[in-house]
């Protein structure tokens, strides 16, 4: 998180406009469960998306979802569906919606909302077991750009 925040700050110095165009977690517009508009002005990078999906300390999607597409990564979970073919089954807008807040698409799902900052019970400070510091703005599990990167990667998962 720290690193991303610094990176964003650096960007905002040089390109304030691009930063302003980012859609905040509370302002994402859902059409049903779809999110049509990109959360940023920078197109998603599928390479980075793959890293986020498979990395334990980032999206950690792999802990619940297996896929042939990243069979080189160990320890695939089986709580969620296999992600191969996600790019055939879903449109970009649907995938953006699913990753941002899967509960809009799948009622009561166990899949966490990756771009959401409110409505939690006993919100903790990451994995410390301590409460989230009062008054501190809550950071979503993934940044806007990371969501775009993940969506770009999922779109490459064709069968």
């Amino acid at each position: 998180m720290k690193r991303t925040i610094l990176a964003l700050a650096a960007v905002s110095l040089t390109a304030g406009a691009a930063q302003a165009a980012e859609i905040a977690p509370g302002e994402v517009e859902f059409d049903g469960y779809e999110v049509t508009a990109s959360l940023t002005e920078t197109p998603g990078d599928p390479e980075k998306g793959r890293e986020i999906v498979t990395n334990k300390s980032m999206g950690n999607c792999v802990s619940c979802h297996a896929a042939e597409a990243y069979s080189d990564v160990p320890f695939h979970g089986e709580v969620g569906p296999i992600l191969d073919g996600a790019g055939d089954r879903w449109t970009e807008a649907e995938l953006r919606g699913i990753v941002s807040n899967a509960k809009m698409a799948f009622e009561g799902t166990v899949m966490p909302a990756f771009y959401k900052v409110d409505g939690f019970t006993r919100l903790g400070d990451a994995f410390t077991g301590k409460a989230w510091p009062e008054g501190e703005p809550v950071t979503p599990l993934l940044t806007a750009q990371e969501i775009e990167d993940v969506v770009a990667y999922l779109l490459t998962l064709k069968e």
């Binding site: 950690n60 695939h76 166990v110 939690f120 903790g124 410390t128 301590k130």
Partner: protein, 283 residues
């Protein structure tokens, strides 16, 4: 579900113990080649069909880990039981008394563990075994209470559990403890943290699935205290709860808190019918 159970050391059908006129065999293993341990049985009625069968965490572990628990010589948790046996006989506190002075041999405590947590009439509250142990220490021995889930407390809990191994968990859910049980149930189904997950999401909806490298069990507590290969020591129930709540990116409750006492009571009751198994071995 059934097929996966057979992956490990096949839990065998144990002949129903002599005397009980049970038609059906039960699934389990023989501890030390003699004590039947039931590791799978019908879910208690109060689960309302949420699970059809209940399974001990033992059935989800690999054969090597299972085997360590099947013989006391191989079970590292039994070392703590030996320590606790010394503590059982050692006088402490201003009254100069040991546990044994009031209770006799540790083996005489067989039958205590299966019904805890329970409503204790004299105290007017639901208590865990550790709370009850500390009541004795403070009020009968004049000794310092043990810290919740600390080594001494967990070891003594393991001793009291070990003498009840093979007896069915039988936690009361009605009567004056019912309110606490309801509170525990509520906590069990409440989603917490930034990952927004409840105990049920992992241990009821997804048991038998892998979550990353972990083979999800039903999160039963009949095997506690558990010796974990991961941290090479005995672990208490509340410490395990803390870890699971923390993993939802939530603020946890503390060991010994009213919330965890209630949760322990509820979770223990989900295992009514499984054998007391502690100290068990888990990864």
């Amino acid at each position: 579900m059934k097929t996966k159970l057979l992956q490990g050391i096949a839990a065998v059908a144990l002949a129903a113990s002599a005397g009980t006129a049970q038609a059906e065999d039960v699934i389990g293993f023989e501890l030390n080649g003699e004590t039947p341990i039931v590791v799978e049985t019908d879910a208690p009625a109060h689960l309302d069909g949420a699970l059809s069968t209940i399974r001990s965490g033992w059935t989800f572990r690999d054969p090597a880990t299972q085997a360590m628990e099947m013989d006391d010589f191989d079970n590292p948790g039994m070392l703590a039981v030996e320590d606790a046996m010394v503590a059982w006989e050692t006088a402490e506190g201003s009254e100069g008394k040991s546990c044994m002075d009031c209770h006799g041999a540790a083996e005489d405590m067989a039958g205590v563990k299966p019904v805890y947590p329970k409503y204790v009439e004299s105290a007017g509250e639901v208590r865990t075994l550790q709370m009850q142990m500390n009541d004795c220490r403070e009020n009968r021995m004049g000794a310092e209470p043990w810290k919740y889930d600390a080594t001494e407390a967990v070891s003594m809990e393991a001793l009291l559990s070990s003498v009840s191994r093979g007896m069915p968990v039988n936690v009361a859910i009605d009567g004056p403890g019912a309110e606490t049980w309801e509170m525990g149930k509520e906590l069990y189904y409440t989603r917490t943290g930034q990952l927004d997950l409840s105990c049920a999401n992992c241990h009821e909806d997804n048991y038998d699935n892998l979550i990353r490298a972990d083979h999800l069990s039903q999160g039963q507590v009949n095997g506690f205290p558990t010796y974990r290969l991961k941290n090479t020591k005995l672990n208490g129930i509340h410490s395990r709860f803390k870890g699971c709540v923390r993993d939802t990116r939530a603020e946890t409750f503390s060991a010994g808190s009213p919330e965890f006492v209630a949760l322990e009571m509820y979770v223990a009751s989900r295992g009514n019918g499984l054998s007391v198994e502690g100290p068990s071995v888990r990864n």
